[in-house]
């Protein structure tokens, strides 16, 4: 058995997902997204939200969007990028669709301008191309509760809720801080989020350390258990970095070499 522990502290879709609870979360999310236009995945930083989202994507017809790539997070940009991904996948030469026509004539700017004018129609029309139900993962939509644009971005969720799309479902990942702020400050959104939320564990359950670590490196499960006994509130990210012998440091001292 060879060890392949991720060295970079961000989830990659090349790794298998381990841990019973996490797999159960994936099952629940697959069900939720098949029934509702929106679902929320809640978890602390470094506890596997993105990894779970990748796994949901693997099991469904899915578009994964990391919003840190999109530039300004507004309704038009979100819709345009989703439509573009749909076109890239389904908009072949013989595809007949108003949105496809617009794209052929005016390119991405055309999609963006449609999305700015009528996001709901644009999205619905593009979704017709897919034929089946599409899951759209919005990762990092609200990466922090202190985000200066918090309420503007949270409003996107509100609009998605009201679009009432029948053949698509948005899966939004969120930190607990962000979730609490939405529930407290935006009640119309918070009240219904409660019914479509899956929450990941806040600490790694002892009985699942083995499953999680053995995905990456079966030989190090004992070491992992020791680390966790010493630091029970460690996140998965911290645990993996520690196993890699790269403890998460506050800073690295740079020493000039002569």
């Amino acid at each position: 058995m060879s060890c392949n522990i991720p060295r970079w502290p961000v989830a990659g879709d090349g790794f298998k997902l381990g841990g019973n609870t996490w797999l159960r979360a994936v099952d629940s999310l697959v069900k939720l997204t098949s029934a509702f236009p929106m679902a929320v995945l809640l978890g602390r930083a470094g506890m596997g939200k993105t990894h779970v989202a990748y796994e949901v994507c693997r099991r469904t017809n899915c578009i994964y969007v990391d919003l840190t790539e999109v530039g300004e997070r507004n309704m038009a940009n979100v819709v345009a990028i989703v439509v573009w991904r749909l076109l890239a996948r389904h908009g072949g030469r013989d595809a007949k669709n108003r949105v496809v026509e617009v794209y052929r004539r005016f390119g991405y700017e055309g999609l963006l301008s449609l999305a700015r004018g009528d996001p709901a129609w644009t999205l619905r029309t593009a979704l017709e191309l897919a034929g089946t139900r599409t899951v759209i993962v919005l990762d990092e939509l609200l990466p922090s509760a202190e985000d200066p644009k918090f309420f503007e971005v949270a409003y996107i969720l509100h609009r998605i809720r009201n679009m009432h799309l029948s053949s698509a479902s948005f899966l939004v990942t969120m930190l607990p801080e962000v979730y609490e702020k939405i529930v407290e400050r935006i009640p119309p959104l918070g009240n219904f989020l409660i019914h479509i939320t899956v929450q990941l564990p806040d600490i790694i359950p002892e009985e699942e350390v083995e499953d999680i670590v053995s995905v990456y490196c079966p030989e190090k499960t004992d070491l992992a258990r020791k680390i966790l006994a010493e630091k029970p509130d460690a996140t998965i990210r911290e645990l993996l970095l520690e196993l890699n012998n790269m403890p998460s440091r506050r800073y690295v001292e740079l020493v000039p070499t002569d």
């Binding site: 979360a25 607990p176 609490e180 899956v198 929450q199 564990p201 509130d233």
Partner: protein
């Protein structure tokens, strides 16, 4: 008393109130501050007299209340009160705002902020893994080296809370 007034920039005052963990509006009302527009921003003007009475009143009230309770707070009692406060104030995700918890505990036990921070720091050391703290949030409390906005109680060996629909 002579007519002396203190002028404060609004943003400075709000930041100061946030650091204290109090509601800026309440503090303004207690200080009887006036709002004055200066250039593009706002200033608060506080009369020296109101300021003086407010501060002295607080000091006096504080010295009256302290001595009776401060002694008897044991570590177990602190933990019990903290747990209750966290449970009561926890939101949908199980996390409670640390500032709210702090205020509740301080009021219940009659201890000051320094004492609360010290006690919580000690508790986190002895009961490792019993609490999870989050660094995000609008108002934060400094515990040790970091500032935290939320706290949650974790029962050991809990299996995940997956909320089914």
């Amino acid at each position: 008393m002579e007519e002396v007034k203190i002028t404060l920039r609004k943003s400075d005052f709000d930041r100061f109130a946030e650091r204290l963990g109090v509601n800026p509006d309440e503090l303004l009302a207690a200080l009887k501050a006036e709002v004055v527009k200066v250039g593009p921003g706002f200033r608060y003007v506080v009369d020296m007299e109101s300021f003086f009475y407010f501060v002295v009143g607080r000091l006096y009230a504080g010295s009256q209340r302290r001595p009776e309770k401060a002694q008897e707070v044991t570590a177990e009692r602190f933990e019990e009160v903290l747990n209750k406060a966290v449970d009561r104030l926890a939101g949908a995700s199980g996390y409670a705002k640390l500032v709210d918890v702090k205020n509740a505990v301080m009021q219940e036990l009659g201890i000051g902020e320094d004492e609360f921070v010290k006690r919580l720091g000690e508790l986190l050391q002895t009961k490792r893994g019993a609490y999870v703290l989050l660094e995000g949030g609008d108002v934060k409390v400094q515990i040790g080296l970091k500032k935290y906005g939320f706290i949650k109680r974790v029962e050991r060996r809990s299996i995940a809370e997956v909320i089914h629909y």
